[in-house]
């Protein structure tokens, strides 16, 4: 089934994909696209409205160019999102494989751990980790990654159980294949679709959590531009200077939407019965 046909039947993938690509491009090219240094303050030109050639999206409380900060903010979101998902997927994969493949006792133990972790709202877990370790890019990625691990673990576990029951796995084992070999060659490729679906949706979720934590003041510290902290800074003057909140809030929404759409589309494509 060629790529174009897939895209036509699942417009979500196309639209979502385009959005994600645009945001990635903006983040990647931020240093070249930004007209100003995002941290450059100009205390005399504070809170200028958008529309001038100098500042297309206006300036913020410190006179910093909003457009540049939005572009650089994309970098933080697009680093935190995928990186935390990477951590969650690696940890979740390890634990989920162990739970689904090894046997009942391991499964029960790991399952209980997941249950307990899932009893706590994931954002509170992430907040707790950052509050304990201190706000920084690395700690945020770790915190969000850890809080998403149980979700990954659960999904992968179900997928592994499903695959393990298949014939080809049994025959591979009968032919004398070692456990690791079986996992690597037979199990992993077949749970890839599940991982892919969960990952794309998880990135959307991670970006939202990062934005929320920045909003609460526990995000990457100043002067790094993040969309969440821009909304936090701008909300005080929402009536007099709405462009700050809108310029930062819109990209969060659009990016999250893009990833969600992509994830939905991929799920529809790989498993049309669900949703």
């Amino acid at each position: 089934m060629n790529a174009l046909a897939v895209l036509r039947r699942h417009p979500s993938i196309a639209i979502g994909g385009v959005i994600v690509l645009v945001v990635f491009a903006a983040a990647l090219l931020a240093p070249w696209l930004s007209p100003h240094d995002p941290a450059a303050q100009n205390l005399v030109a504070r809170l200028r409205p958008p529309g001038t050639a100098e500042h297309l999206l206006g300036t913020d409380r410190y006179g910093r160019d909003v457009l540049s900060r939005v572009l650089y903010g994309a970098r933080v979101s697009l680093i935190v999102g995928p990186a935390s998902v990477l951590i969650a997927s690696i940890l979740g994969l390890t634990l989920g494989l162990a739970a689904g493949y090894v046997g009942r006792k391991t499964d029960m133990l790991i399952g209980r751990v997941f249950d307990v972790m899932l009893a706590f709202p994931s954002i509170l877990l992430a907040l707790a980790i950052v509050a304990a370790l201190g706000p920084s890019l690395g700690n945020m990625i770790l915190a969000i990654g850890l809080s998403m691990t149980p979700t990954f673990g659960r999904v992968i576990r179900s997928a592994v159980i499903g695959v393990r029951a298949r014939d080809y796995v049994a025959s591979a084992r009968a032919l004398g294949a070692g456990h690791l070999f079986t996992i690597a060659v037979h199990v992993l490729p077949n749970i890839l679709s599940a991982v892919l679906v969960v990952s794309t949706v998880a990135v959307a979720s991670a970006i939202l959590v990062e934005a929320t934590m920045s909003f609460l003041g526990l995000g990457v510290p100043p002067p790094t531009a993040t969309w969440g902290s821009m909304v936090a800074e701008g909300k005080g003057m929402f009536l007099t200077a709405p462009w700050i909140v809108i310029s930062a809030g819109l990209p969060i929404t659009v990016t999250v939407f893009g990833f969600s759409l992509l994830g939905d589309g991929i799920r529809d494509w790989l498993d049309p019965r669900s949703g």
């Binding site: 205390l43 504070r46 201190g134 510290p221 005080g236």
Partner: protein, 508 residues
């Protein structure tokens, strides 16, 4: 049809709520709604350290004396008169004889005063301000309405200290009865009594019908803590709150331009500063500290970022503090800053964490300073820290190498100069770890003499030398700014933002 009925029902519900909603926003005569930034943590005068606690408590528990409304002259309160011995070591206070405690806890007697002071200075309570009166020796009741306080050395600022919360008089009977519960159910002699509190939502005081002095002008006073500045502003603008503090220059300009609001800005008793731990690299090198003083464009910050919120700091202490001298002078010269860094062997600059309490009041200047220092090659990481954790760490052995804070002061310099200048205060309050025998000698002399001329002289010398160390970079003196709706009458703001409501009435 079905759907239409549903929509009609929903609309009816919204309208009902809406009418209830709009009714709540109108002012009620006799009821004042104050917006504050933080929730109270305790209403026990001997235990409190934060400003919200103090603002609420001053209406409930009274001290022997208090400040006059709007300035810092001392006037009698529970002590109707006093005298001091020739050697300055014995103070005698005559108490009023008609003061009674709230809710039937009986009349105020000298025993309550003795109890309060012993409680403050005793070991059991571990009160944060127990050494407020450094030379306190003993207190005794000489008659049912008179007490005698004995000091081990003269204290020229004793009266100012007696106007503070730590020495506000509590009911002995109530404290003994309630124990730890007294902190959230305080009993005092004030014009208002504590009614109730909903954690994180409101503190309600009601008029004390049996008050011994001039009756209270309001029936109810509610303090609503709103940590989020936007919500605080919204609530105020919608009329849900009658008055709030102003800490944002954009909002200040807005409110000043609004004829239905009154802004009261008074030069405050605070100084904002950046601090260095002078015993660690790179700040152990005085050239580095000096370099930083040339690298920051204070005027730009104060004129533009803090427009209307503060004035450039020209002294360690705010202008209203007695015996303060304008010793602070900096010039903005980034080239000189770079040259000094080269001399210090740091031509490539360096990188350091700067801790700040996590509110806009400190993050704003920190962000501006960060940008300035970046231009001379010093890379600052601004690290916001929750206030209580911040103070605890700052005051410990560990301290912070670089941080930004504000120091609240008193009308007399004694308390703060002792805390900041003396080598004995390292590390708890002498955060720069300045240890200078000359400064120590001057300060100790000034603290223990009643001669104001001598005090002026030695304090001036101490301030000058202290400043030269560059252990701190003084940014500005913040103003105390409150905004209220015009239906709030007779409110007088003061330099400590105490929210004195002595004569306030509501006239919608």
């Amino acid at each position: 049809m079905h759907r239409l009925r549903q929509t009609a029902a929903a609309l009816a519900a919204i309208v009902t709520f809406a009418t209830v909603g709009t009714a709540a926003a109108a002012p009620t005569p006799g009821e004042l709604k104050v917006g504050v930034v933080a929730d109270i943590s305790t209403l026990d005068p001997q235990l409190m350290t934060n400003i919200t606690d103090a603002s609420v408590s001053q209406n409930i528990n009274e001290g022997l004396v208090r400040f006059k409304l709007g300035n810092f002259e001392i006037e009698p309160l529970l002590a109707k008169s006093w005298s001091v011995s020739q050697d300055g070591l014995t103070w005698t206070f005559e108490l009023v004889d008609n003061a009674t405690f709230h809710k039937g806890y009986g009349p105020l007697t000298a025993d309550d005063v003795v109890f309060t002071f012993e409680r403050l200075t005793g070991d059991a309570l571990k009160a944060p301000n127990r050494r407020l009166i450094g030379s306190f020796a003993s207190i005794s009741a000489t008659s049912p309405h008179a007490v005698e306080i004995k000091l081990s050395a003269p204290d020229p600022s004793l009266l100012v200290k007696l106007a503070q919360r730590a020495t506000a008089i509590v009911s002995k009977k109530a404290v003994e009865e309630k124990g730890a519960g007294f902190a959230l159910d305080p009993i005092g002699t004030g014009p208002y009594q504590f009614d109730s509190r909903v954690t994180g939502q409101s503190v309600l005081l009601v008029k004390n019908p049996d008050y011994w002095g001039t009756p209270a002008t309001l029936d109810k006073v509610t303090y609503t803590p709103v940590p989020d500045s936007t919500t605080l502003q919204l609530a105020f603008e919608a009329g849900d709150l009658d008055m709030i503090p102003v800490e944002d220059s954009v909002k200040l300009a807005e409110y000043e331009a609004n004829p239905e609001l009154t802004v009261q800005a008074v030069p405050g008793l605070w100084t904002r500063f950046i601090g260095f731990k002078d015993t660690v690299a790179p700040f152990d090198n005085p050239k580095v500290r000096e370099a930083i003083t040339y690298a920051i464009d204070r005027e730009n910050m104060v004129d533009n970022l803090f427009k209307g919120l503060s004035t450039l700091a020209d002294g360690i202490f705010a202008p209203a503090v007695l015996h303060r001298t304008p010793v602070v002078k900096y010039s903005y010269d980034p080239e000189k800053a770079k040259a000094l860094l080269v001399e210090a062997g740091l031509a490539d600059g360096f990188s350091v964490d700067m801790m700040v309490p996590n509110t806009a009041r400190f993050i704003d200047p920190a962000t501006a300073v960060q940008a300035d220092l970046a231009k001379v090659g010093i890379k600052i990481n601004v690290v916001p820290v929750e206030l209580n954790t911040f103070i605890t760490t700052l005051s410990s052995e560990q301290g912070y190498p670089m941080y930004l804070l504000a120091r609240g002061q008193d009308p007399t310099p004694d308390r703060v100069i002792g805390l900041w200048f003396l080598s004995s205060s390292i590390p708890t309050t002498n955060w720069a770890r300045i240890s200078d025998p000359e400064i120590d000698a001057w300060v100790k002399q000034g603290l223990s003499t009643m001669d104001e001329a001598v005090r002026a002289d030695v304090f001036a010398k101490a301030q000058e030398k202290f400043f030269a160390y560059n252990g701190y970079y003084f940014i500005d003196h913040e103003n105390s700014i409150t905004v209220h709706h015009n239906w709030v009458k007779n409110f007088v703001n003061d330099a400590r933002n105490s929210i004195r409501i002595d004569k306030v009435t509501i006239e919608p």
